[in-house]
Symmetry: C2
Subunit: 277 residues, 2 copies
């Protein structure tokens, strides 16, 4: 059966590019927010959802982390990395020298800040709710341009004036695929978990993380999120090597549970992006 894959729309966003890269035969289901993309699975409008979780420049996508921590019974089934290549685009016929206004999402504008101040120091920068919306808004205005991905240019028939206008060429976003079930073991897997500690327990983070290192389980990343109750209290998200069905992973997670006030397994899935800390 064809996979129904929900994503953070509208069409023409980097999320749609990621969805196509992950499964180019899927039926794509656009939703206007990250929680709604996940909800599409619960309401049986989709089998899987693909959502951004981390950008190499912007850091964590907090809506996705909070969804995994607080709101969703969904599990991470896969991950993919998409290089982000911003393009400057305008309506056909518009010359670079005519541009007076540049539309984009504030995050994309800030990722191109040096480029914009070098090449378009006099232009007015206008905020949009998404990169796709920016292209729609600039469309038809002869004196404006937008910054978005190449897919948005194709979709709205805009003319790409320059590619790769981001200040940092290593801009990439990691997406996770959510589903009711995570992935079966493949032998090269990763498991994401989150946990929280009881109030003020000095040294407890090192003790908990020490359970992994003493068993030789590699950490891939650690992220902290404010717990949304008190500034200065955190929930930790950790990616470790191995599948949650592996004996050593199961035993170690039990040991970690002895140190924390609550723990949630967010899913096991094939490891596409690797590091060791």
């Amino acid at each position: 059966m064809t996979n129904r894959l929900s994503y953070l729309g509208p069409k023409g966003t980097y999320s749609e590019q990621a969805a196509i890269q992950y499964d180019n035969s899927a039926i794509l289901v656009a939703r206007s927010t990250i929680p709604l993309a996940a909800d599409a699975i619960n309401s049986d409008a989709a089998d899987e959802a693909i959502v951004p979780i981390e950008n190499s420049l912007g850091g964590a996508v907090v809506e996705t982390l909070d969804l995994l921590i607080h709101q969703s019974g969904l599990l991470i089934k896969n991950e993919i990395a998409l290089p982000i290549r911003h393009c400057l685009m305008a309506s056909p016929g518009t010359e670079r020298s005519e541009i007076r206004k540049i539309y984009s999402h504030p995050q994309s504008l800030s990722q191109c800040r040096q480029y914009l101040s070098r090449h378009f120091p006099e232009c007015q920068l206008v905020a949009s709710l998404s990169n796709s919306a920016a292209v729609e808004e600039m469309n038809g205005d002869r004196y404006s341009a937008a910054i978005a991905g190449s897919r948005a240019a194709a979709l709205y028939n805009a003319n790409i004036l320059e590619e790769n206008v981001e200040d940092n060429p290593t801009n990439a976003t990691r997406f996770v695929v959510l589903s009711k079930n995570d992935h079966y073991p493949t032998g090269t897997d990763k498991t994401s978990i989150c946990f929280e500690f009881h109030d003020d327990a000095p040294g407890i983070l090192v003790t908990a993380l020490g359970e992994f290192s003493s068993k030789g389980i590699n950490l891939n990343k650690i992220e902290s999120r404010p717990n949304r109750l008190v500034l200065g209290r955190y929930i930790f998200l950790v990616d470790i090597d191995g599948h949650r069905s592996d004996d050593i992973v199961r035993e170690t997670l039990s040991a970690v549970e002895g140190h924390v006030s609550s723990m949630k397994i967010l899913g096991s899935y094939p490891k596409q992006i690797s590091s060791s800390i």
Copy 2:
């Protein structure tokens, strides 16, 4: 001499509120970006800069972390926490029932998403580059409103229709004060550092953090930032108890340096917000 304090403008933002809360006798110097607020010190337009570093809902302010990690020789001299209270405001005379468009920064719109979909499900949401800009843009349009802090309402003569429209009442932002020198020891201090590891070294994070716990030095927080070269490689930011001039802190930081590829002390300052992990 009166302190000259730069901040992330324009006037009417939460950053201006934080600047006034930190030093209400200072001469305030508005700058349009976080890096420019810091640069005001280097060009002797300001003595100190106050910039947001963390929001209890939105997480880290990555521009400030990256400034501290990569670009600035400035040190953290102080920290303060500001509760964020979003207000719905409109031009005098506009009734709630007349509102058709609501302007705000995308982050503020998302922090009020439940409120907006409950009370204004039909309204068009419009992105602005700052909350202050939102109030300026809605000004004079009888059928529009903006979401911003109370200070923006006072400044632009807008009428507050409802206070505390944020979905989560624990919304607070932590700001840091940057300067050429950090703070002298007060006896209750915090030190912020960042460090990076050599390529792939399993267990190294636990080993490095273990230096603090074995000396009884409390960790307040840990944050990871992509290193901007490779997705999956991180720089760690850690806040510890104590002043960098304390003997035990100095010795421990030397020991940590033995495990990392590079380390930077970001400053020591009086501890206003506390936790232990």
